[in-house]
Amino acid sequence: MNATPETTSAKQGGVTRRDIENVERALIDQSARGPVLTFFTMAVFWLLVSAVLGYIASKKLHSPDFVLGPEWLYKLLHLQRITTGIFEHLTYGRVWPAYTTAMIYGWCSLAGMGVATWLIGRLTRVSIKLPVVLQFGAWFWNAGVAVAVITILCGYNSGLEFFEMHRVARMLMFLGYLCIGIWGLILFRYRRQSAPYISVWYLAAAFFLFPWFFGTTDALSSMALPGVMKNVVNAWYQNGLFNLWLGCIGIAAAYYLIPKIINRPIYSYNLASIGFWSWIFLGGLTAMTRLSGGPVPAYLVTISIAASILMIIPIATLTINFVRTMKGHTKLMASSPTLRFTFVGTIFFSIAAGLGVLAALRSVDSYTHFTAWTAGQLHLVTMGFFSMVMFGAIYYITPRLVGCEWLSRTFIKLHFFGTAYGAGTIIGMFLFGGLATGFVLNEPTADKMGFYNVSGIANAYMPVKTYIGYVLFGVAQIIFAFHFLLMRLRIGQPAGEPTLLQTPGEGH
């Protein structure tokens, strides 16, 4: 954990403090192995599911008659009944919520919980006790997500965005969460590091707050609230989900991994402190911009716009911290997979958060509201920022748990390029396609009032998103999943030297 190298005592037969720390770390890693690998394996499974669902949803958006294959194939296989029976029901309206559920609660949350578990073990410097509790938690959560995705595809929808799942799924996930959250708090209580590091603040916020807003939203959604209150609660929940849950876990991971790899401390702890407090105080107030112009009290939207603009403070402090910490060490990104993924993830974070500030302004919002732009913002957060940081973390953590290094640097390179360019394409097409639509949606001419003038505007953008963006992304994740599977089977390079993207000294 000390970023600065220790001057050690005598080397002849003496045990240095460094050695003790290394052994301690190894013990913590071994104790975390079972649960963290379970989390990661489940997360990778949902990553593949969401990549497939994402492709289908994206294709259905520009080719709604697409039924997963040509008619002649089904006739040939005598499977016509399946086309009419099952695939026809997989309309955009069902696949999209299933996709976001699988992505956010399946891939993002499970990866986040796995990384957080390992981070908490390392940062509290306590070996993980009772890992079976965590395993139960992971299985319950996983079951919840499975119930959620399947029931949504079968037509269940609660009506609340990013919270569409059935109450049974929510109960399962909450139960799983309790196992993990309570375990985390106990470990924190018995920590051996008295002054918590930055990442611990963010993880504490994420794990302490998630059950509150998840549970509150679930409880309120089943009560008889006056009409639009449920939409208000839904927007408030989205705040918690993206800013305080995913946002905090991602930032925590970045704050740990970047200094770790480059072996330098964070640029400024003061900035980190300002960034943390402003993030969690403002982060819970920004979501009502989703309801701007809607049938809700106007002051809610105004508060959210103000809070969104003030978010410049935490965004700036986080960006400065990450960029200045990396200053002079960016060439390490050429060799370290973790650094490359994580730092690019933090760049996506700055873009995502920055666009969030912009889109909150009324003038910009009038062109982006109700368009695909918001889907672009969603993917900036989940795919661009969070997924990239999680990949960086998984590439770092997994060798320490399985005792061998990643097999192939080519796989890692392909994964990086596929993810970065795939996610970039998806995000770009959502943003630009949405903006193009928004211009016409917002300023129609008198003879072009018919909505059919709007439907075709994004025709140029959406197929690119599907056939280039989602295909690149999907293929990259298949390669990653295969590579991860090899690691779980201990098929890899011998432990000791990390698998780097280029040998240090190679000039590219």
């Binding site: 069902r94 302490f208 208000v232 979501a287 917002n442 008198a446 009032m449």
Partner: protein, 238 residues
């Protein structure tokens, strides 16, 4: 940060602020919302109550098929966008419009038109002195050649079955599974969307419920909190 109690107190405080401002305060405002009731003098029951609570089975179909991911149901004030110019409603929708909805299907994307007032009708005087109820929800210019003649049940069924026969660039999915194949009896059903010599494709009960739900969507009733921007008489001329 020196100790964990500062940390947790701070985190809890941030959450309390968020919950208080975003949830508790609006709830205290909205919880007292009641339907708008109008009494005439000397009457024992109100002359007019808006909105009326109605359970529409089609709402479940609307929700189940995920229509909210493309269709919104909220009309905004002109300062936010040309919702009313597009003919989506005579006034902006207010919280009172949704008090009977379990979860208001406000929607957050418009890949298809807003449907808040799909069933909005107005009585329009005809040349022969009678009055006709016509659908007011329209978003096409009167000279627009693509403008449908009427948005009634048959039009809805056709749109559900095959959207691109009506609007070639529509991204609406074809809901073929909401239709069933039946033998043509004595004559073709008026609701049949397709037919050949022996069989016709008619809407299932779900499709009929959905159509009735869509035609029931009408939030044009005058309310105190939002002025009517487009008067029905004005709109009738368009």
């Amino acid at each position: 940060m020196q100790n964990s109690s500062t940390l947790f107190t701070g985190i809890f405080g941030a959450f309390a602020l968020s919950c208080g401002v975003m949830v508790l305060i609006p709830h205290s405002q909205l919880a007292s919302l009641q339907p708008q009731v109008q009494w005439d003098e000397g009457q024992n029951s109100p002359a007019d109550v808006y909105p009326q609570k109605r359970h529409m089975a089609g709402r479940e179909v609307f929700l189940s098929e995920g229509c909210i991911y493309c269709h919104s149901q909220q009309v905004r004030d002109p300062q936010y966008g040309p919702d009313m110019e597009r003919g989506w409603g005579p006034r902006r929708t207010v919280a009172r419009d949704y008090i009977h909805d379990d979860v208001p299907l406000l929607g957050s994307a418009r890949l298809g038109p807003d449907l808040s007032n799909f069933g909005w009708t107005a009585k329009v005087a005809q040349k022969d002195g009678t009055e006709k109820s016509v659908g007011m929800w329209r978003n096409e210019h009167e000279d627009d050649t693509k403008k449908p003649a009427a948005r009634n049940e048959q039009w809805i069924y056709q749109h559900l079955y095959s959207p691109r026969t009506l609007f070639s660039d529509s991204k609406c999915p074809p809901y073929r599974f909401l239709f069933e194949r039946k033998e043509i009896g004595e004559k073709l059903s008026p609701n049949a969307v397709a037919h050949d010599e022996k069989f016709q494709y008619v809407p299932t009960l779900e499709a009929e419920h959905l159509a009735q739900y869509l035609l029931s969507l009408d939030r044009s009733h005058e309310v105190k909190e939002a002025p009517t921007v487009i008067k029905p008489k004005e709109a009738a001329k368009k």
